[in-house]
């Protein structure tokens, strides 16, 4: 188990390296410079200034050399300075990551708090109104894109009835809409998984055995069915984290939440290479860690599954 963990952690290095290679060359593939008029908005800079800026940031060197220099500084945990603000990338991320993390954790907790009971209840009352209602909700939640739901939510709660603010992140009231909407997708997905895996567990022989030996219904459901049904659910949390990250970019963009997602969108539009690279590497790292921890926890939760060597 320990060897497996170490091996997986070491495998992170080549994966992250390839991510860096691809994103770096892709981001630099665009013609023109991040300092010309198209990227800067309408007020163009004088050519001499552009050349000077490019020299300062090393953009006039061959791209392979730029990449090697970048990797060298990344190895020293120096992610360079943002082209737009001139501040250190790590400093900006350090400011914004807590906001994004708060949004993500709130959404994940909210999703779990609703999805698990909903999935369990609809499995126990299969083919009743409760079940159909929760399936309907799950279909809506997985089908309708979050930015469309945001639009309807802003329209009803913000514009029409003035119930909730929808720009910024200043007060806890501002947290409600982004958190709930970000949670909807994972929530719907988790509900479906929970229901399916409950239905599967409830038909197992050991459940019949538990009933046959006279255990109360509650004990059977909680200690025998749910305990086993939660195993597949745990594995979904990994992909759910990836979903929350991409989702948060959209949500932060719409609700002007001052987090990494909004920063990423802006950096992409302004071709702020150091910012794009920094944020993307962090995202890729988080996703890899989430997947890895699911794989590790899986083996502990379910001894029937042997971690492959």
């Amino acid at each position: 188990m320990l060897r497996y963990t170490i091996r997986r952690l070491l495998l992170l290095i080549p994966t992250m390296f390839f991510v860096a290679v691809i994103v770096f060359f892709l981001a630099h593939a665009a013609p023109g410079s991040p300092f010309d008029a198209k990227a800067q908005g309408d007020k163009g800079l004088p050519t001499a200034t552009i050349l000077k800026l490019e020299e300062h940031y090393g953009l006039n060197r061959p791209i392979t050399e730029q990449f090697l220099l970048y990797m060298e500084s990344v190895a020293k945990f120096d992610f360079g300075n943002s082209f737009r603000s001139g501040r250190q990338v790590s400093e900006i991320i350090g400011e914004q990551f807590p906001v994004s993390a708060q949004l993500g954790v709130q959404a994940l907790l909210f999703a779990l708090a609703f999805a698990l009971p909903l999935g369990v209840v609809s499995a126990l009352r299969q083919n009743t109104a409760v079940d159909y209602a929760s399936l309907f909700f799950a279909t809506i939640g997985t089908t309708i894109p979050s930015f469309v739901i945001s639009i309807f939510a802003i329209y009803f709660f913000g514009v029409t009835f003035h119930l909730l603010p929808f720009v910024g992140w200043a007060t806890p009231q501002h947290w409600i809409l982004p958190t709930v909407i970000l949670a909807l997708g994972p929530m719907a997905f988790l509900t479906r998984i929970t229901r399916a895996s409950m239905l599967e567990a409830i038909r197992q022989d050991y459940v019949r055995t538990a009933r046959a030996k006279g255990l109360g219904e509650q004990v059977v459901i909680v200690t025998h069915v749910m305990k086993n049904a939660m195993i597949p659910v745990a594995t979904i949390v990994g992909p759910a984290v990836a979903g929350l990250i991409t989702g948060s970019i959209i949500i932060e963009g719409i609700f002007s939440v001052p987090g990494m997602g909004r920063e990423f969108l802006r950096s992409i539009l302004a071709r702020d290479y150091p910012m794009i690279m920094g944020v993307y590497l962090l995202y890729a790292f988080l996703i890899c860690i989430a997947n890895l921890s699911v794989d590790l926890v899986y083996g502990v939760l379910d001894p029937r599954i042997k971690v492959s060597k």
Binding site: L26, H28, A29, A30, P31, V148, F152, I249, R271, Y283
Partner: protein, 326 residues
């Protein structure tokens, strides 16, 4: 092909089965069976009807515009900007703009319908590319194994470290100002970008199916009578992996449409003035708090199409393989 062979020219199957006092079910192929199962699923039928309706609209919208039934989606009419749709009955309505107009005075109905065409193209073209490339490479990798398989698996590992949407964002943002990004308002670049991000999933699906099928007896039988590899792949493997592939295509189409809408919403998809639902929402978002219809209508269209494709996809999955789950 009747189940009970009749003596030629004397009795029909029905008569003979009546004689034998048994019910003879008309023989149906597996695909016909699936089709009947699909038709029994009410939600799937509704989804299919809506999808077909939108497809008809997408095909006919150029003719409707040419015949003058629809306004030009790009023609600006600034004195009549931000007209309300007629059902609101406000004084800012004009009967010539049934769905209202946007802030440049363009007809929203016409723009919505032209967007349907963009959405359908974005739904079907990249998915066709994904189908062709993914199935070919998946078949080859699964059947031959070896280095083809090794390369496919390594590419998959790297691509899986990228969340689809982030990767699309980067591709679109960097390449949309190139010559490729200018063709057809950026449509071609979107096709390519979606195909590049998604073919791997299809190839992996096909590979997995082939791996589990190729040790089965019917493949062994084909090989033992000397069928060449190409024939085995095309005639024996391909038809048997088709069911999950069709389901994956059915879900791939709406997700490609959604990708386009999201990209356009953030201003890095279809280039204005070309209309697409995402572009319309993007442009209308500025005036959203005062006039909501230019945003609500395209949002509604996206929701309807997404739901329709999901119902259809769910129905197809249940019809083609009742054992597949979730």
């Amino acid at each position: 092909m009747a189940t009970v062979t009749t003596t030629p020219g004397k009795q029909t199957t029905a008569e003979r089965s009546a004689d034998l006092n048994v019910l003879v079910r008309k023989q149906r192929s597996l695909w016909q069976d699936a089709w009947y199962r699909l038709l029994r699923n009410r939600a799937a039928v509704v989804g299919m009807v809506i999808v077909v309706l939108f497809m008809i609209l997408a095909v006919t919208v150029p003719f409707m515009t040419q015949l003058g039934w629809l306004k030009d989606p790009l023609k600006q009419d600034t004195p009549n900007s931000l007209m309300e749709p007629i059902w609101t009955g406000s004084k800012f309505t004009l009967s010539t703009y049934p769905f209202g107009s946007d802030q440049l005075g363009r007809d929203i109905l016409s723009r919505l319908l032209w967007s349907t065409q963009i959405s359908m193209l974005v739904g079907f073209v990249p998915v066709s590319i994904i189908f062709l490339v993914g199935v070919t490479i998946g078949l080859a990798a699964g059947y031959y194994g070896g280095w083809v398989d090794q390369i496919l698996m390594r590419i998959t590992d790297v691509i899986y470290a990228f969340p689809d949407l982030l990767f699309l964002f980067i591709i679109m943002a960097t390449l949309r100002n190139t010559a490729l990004g200018d063709i057809q308002g950026g449509l071609l670049l979107i096709f390519v970008a979606i195909a590049v991000v998604n073919w791997v999933g299809m190839a992996r699906l096909v590979r997995g199916q082939v791996l589990s099928l190729k040790e089965r007896e019917f493949i062994e039988a084909a090989r033992s009578i000397g069928a060449p590899a190409r024939r085995i792949m095309v005639r024996h493997l391909f038809p048997n992996i088709l069911a999950p592939v069709i389901v994956s295509v059915a879900f791939g189409i709406p997700s490609a449409m959604l990708a386009e809408a999201t990209l356009s919403f953030f201003g890095i998809g279809i280039k204005p003035p070309t209309a697409s639902w995402g572009v319309m929402i993007n442009e209308g978002f500025v005036v959203f708090s005062t006039s909501a219809w230019p945003v609500l209508l395209p949002a509604l269209c996206i929701s309807i199409v997404m739901l329709a494709f999901t119902f259809l996809g769910d129905g197809l999955r249940d019809a083609l393989d009742p054992r597949m789950k979730i």
